[in-house]
């Protein structure tokens, strides 16, 4: 498994297809009361459809896209969007409201009460807020991105897979710009419950967070005069489905990666390496940046 931590010539970028970072952003915390979300919306009305993951995703994508100088550019329409979504975004208050009205007179669950009164307690928009493809939808809507896309779930291994696919698509000129990100709503009660079930997860550092990278070929960045923040040297993946499950891992690790990269850029580190080791099912990944 150690080979996953070594740069490989197979995935490393050749000089002709050097991939560079031109935009990066991280957003953390619960944005739902924040007016800052509105700055990124084409129409404020769309906010009623948005859950926490959606808002975090739109904010981080907006900041990264703006940082890359791409907001409002025609070229963004054909950008590839590669987005990884975290676990189950149901809200406790809404589920409890359903549950309260789904009981019979003996305080037992009743399908009749659930179907007639319980489900009336929630707004129909709950359905949309809980679909895992919605963060990608909101990014596409608010920044005019028509794809292609890759929407994956739920952890950092999927983020690394998406990042690798974005690099392939850039090198093969299937896309000119790649917007690669991840979002996690981890102070969610269902995530709490899920993590409690696996001993190794209980002590995990969790976040409500999103992170986004804007990538393009160096030649593209040069031709449009974009500021290059870093160069991606390599992305490697390793996978052993026979490895012990549930060591740890969650989508926040994706944002750890991006946050760490952002800090490294601020420190002007010459090299940044992110290694994701503690993942379910023996998933290993690393990112090498200059």
């Amino acid at each position: 498994m150690d080979r996953a931590y070594e740069p490989t010539t197979g995935v490393a970028m050749s000089e002709a297809a050097t991939i560079v970072l031109t935009g990066i952003a991280c957003t953390e915390g619960d944005p739902r009361a924040s007016p800052a979300v509105n700055d990124w919306l084409a129409s404020r009305k769309s906010r009623k459809y948005m859950g926490k993951q959606d808002e975090l995703a739109v904010m981080s994508a907006g900041q990264a896209i703006t940082g890359a100088g791409l907001r409002g550019c025609e070229a963004l329409s054909g950008a590839g969007l590669y987005w990884t979504i975290g676990h189950i975004p149901f809200e406790r208050a809404e589920i409890e409201a359903i549950a309260r009205k789904s009981l019979d007179p003996h305080a037992q669950f009743s399908m009749h009460h659930f179907a007639t009164e319980g489900i009336e307690q929630v707004n129909p928009l709950l359905t949309f807020r809980c679909l895992p493809n919605m963060p990608a939808f909101h990014i596409s809507l608010n920044f005019g991105i028509c794809g292609p896309y890759l929407v994956s779930y739920p952890g950092i291994a999927q983020f690394y897979s998406s990042l690798q696919q974005a690099c392939r698509d850039l090198r093969r000129q299937r896309v000119v710009h790649a917007v690669v990100g991840a979002v996690a709503d981890q102070y969610n009660f269902l995530v709490d419950f899920y993590f409690q079930r696996a001993t190794a997860r209980r002590s995990l550092h969790r976040k409500d967070a999103a992170g986004c990278l804007c990538l393009e070929l160096a030649s593209t960045a040069r031709s449009r005069g974009a500021t290059v923040l870093a160069q991606l040297s390599d992305v490697t993946l390793g996978y052993d489905p026979d490895a012990p499950a549930a060591q740890a891992g969650a989508a926040a690790s994706c944002t750890d990666l991006i946050e760490g990269l952002a800090q490294a850029l601020q420190r002007a580190d010459a090299r940044y390496t992110h290694r994701a080791q503690s993942l379910d099912y023996g998933q290993l990944a690393s990112l090498w940046v200059r």
């Binding site: 179907a115 809980c130 939808f137 392939r168």
Partner: protein
């Protein structure tokens, strides 16, 4: 990139032969919901995989569907030629649905938590179904696949995206063979409640077998289905090297966003058209080469005319010569699994020399005029080019171009 194995676990068959025979016979799988008491829901019908086909111990239906259809696809691929071997150049891409939970167990859990505080050993701790992505690791383990699996969650386009992603990995030379497809089941109280709330499903409860009627003037929503379709995809060289039977060739893949509405497609099918054009460009074929379209065809008021509009823009006058069918008329809407099961339906039927009809299409909506296959199956000329469309809530569109038969 070729298809050498197909596996299905569907409301119309747990094996490929009965699945294709039922489709060609125009059989509907829609019936009153049996998996839970749905009598008080606005919609009370669905397209279920019969309980008799499922082990009593099933905890999570979509995971069971995925595992069994993957196993069937590998067995089918190995029915001819040398066995497939796993390793670092083989992997799995799956489109999968939303993780849901048992509402009765959730109620118990909330009650117990209120009484005794958070507990790590709560007896009601089964309320979450298996983590949705767990099945890809089980599939990888069972078949020795060592490439990082990819879990697509682009809703109703997810399994078409999974097939397209696997196709790209093979064509780019990153893999020798891939398992790809999708699995889903939202036939449970939370899934039903969600779709009832947004009024996406049919209300034709008294006539279940006629309820799913894509492109018909009297359509009023989709019928929820469940199941899985998985395929073995190989590079042509790899398939020939082991002497495998080839059932279809994938030629191109494209996807797009509408960047328009959350629940409704762009009325002129702008995003759908972009995905179709991208798929043909990827295949390096003109759209005029297509002979048949397996439509997304949900039977919802807004999807079907938008898809029709996109096809007319894509094909121009030639649209009248291109046959169209909608598998959801018989299978219902398998959500994340719909694309893969419908691709499997086309390949299974076309390899018998036929295309299945769209059932319940009695009066074509004036805004949905296409060369629909109605009444009886239509002959398929081997080697023709097909287009498969899948469109999702949130305007995510995925299309595949393939040569079949």
């Amino acid at each position: 990139v070729v298809v050498t194995g197909l596996g299905v676990l569907s409301p119309l068959g747990a094996d490929l032969t009965s699945f294709a025979e039922n489709l060609l016979a125009g059989q509907s799988a829609v019936a009153p919901v049996s998996l839970f008491d749905a009598r008080d829901f606005n919609t009370r019908i669905a397209s279920e995989v019969p309980q008799a086909w499922m082990p009593a111990s099933t905890v999570d239906r979509k995971s069971e569907f995925a595992l069994r259809s993957a196993r069937a696809a590998v067995a089918h691929a190995q029915a001819s030629g040398a066995p497939l071997s796993g390793g670092g150049r083989a992997g799995v891409c799956v489109g999968i649905g939303l993780e849901l939970f048992s509402m009765p167990d959730m109620v118990k859990w909330l009650e117990m938590e209120a009484q005794s505080g958070p507990s790590l050993h709560n007896p009601a701790d089964d309320f979450l179904q298996t983590q949705a992505d767990a099945c890809v690791h089980d599939i990888s383990r069972e078949h020795g696949l060592r490439m990082m699996p990819v879990v697509h969650v682009s809703a109703c386009a997810a399994s078409t995206d999974a097939l397209g992603h696997a196709f790209r990995l093979l064509r780019d030379g990153e893999a020798d063979w891939m398992l790809a497809g999708g699995a889903d089941s939202m036939i449970n109280p939370m899934g039903f409640a969600g779709f009832c709330k947004i009024q996406a499903m049919t209300g034709r409860n008294d006539d279940p077998q006629a309820a799913s009627r894509p492109f018909d003037a009297q359509r009023d929503g989709f019928v929820l289905g469940e199941g899985a379709g998985m395929m073995v995809l190989e590079s042509l060289q790899h398939a020939q090297g082991r002497g495998a039977t080839i059932y279809a060739e994938l030629l191109g893949y494209g996807n797009s966003f509408d960047a328009f509405g959350i629940s409704e497609p762009h009325p002129e099918g702008k995003g759908a058209l972009l995905a179709m054009r991208r798929a043909f460009a990827d295949a390096q074929l003109p759209a005029a080469s297509v002979r048949h379209v397996n439509a997304h065809g949900t039977s919802t008021p807004k999807n079907d005319p938008a898809e029709t509009s996109a096809l007319k823009q894509l094909l121009g006058e030639q649209v009248e010569a291109v046959s169209v069918n909608a598998s959801k008329s018989m299978l219902g809407h398998l959500i994340a699994a719909s694309g893969a099961i419908e691709v499997a339906a086309q390949i299974a039927c076309a390899n018998k020399g036929w295309l299945h009809p769209t059932i319940n299409l009695e009066e074509v909506d004036p805004n949905c005029q296409l060369a629909h296959i109605v009444g009886a199956p239509q002959r398929w000329q081997a080697g023709g080019v097909m287009l498969k469309n899948s469109f999702a809530f949130g305007g995510q569109n995925a299309c595949l171009v393939m040569r079949v038969g």
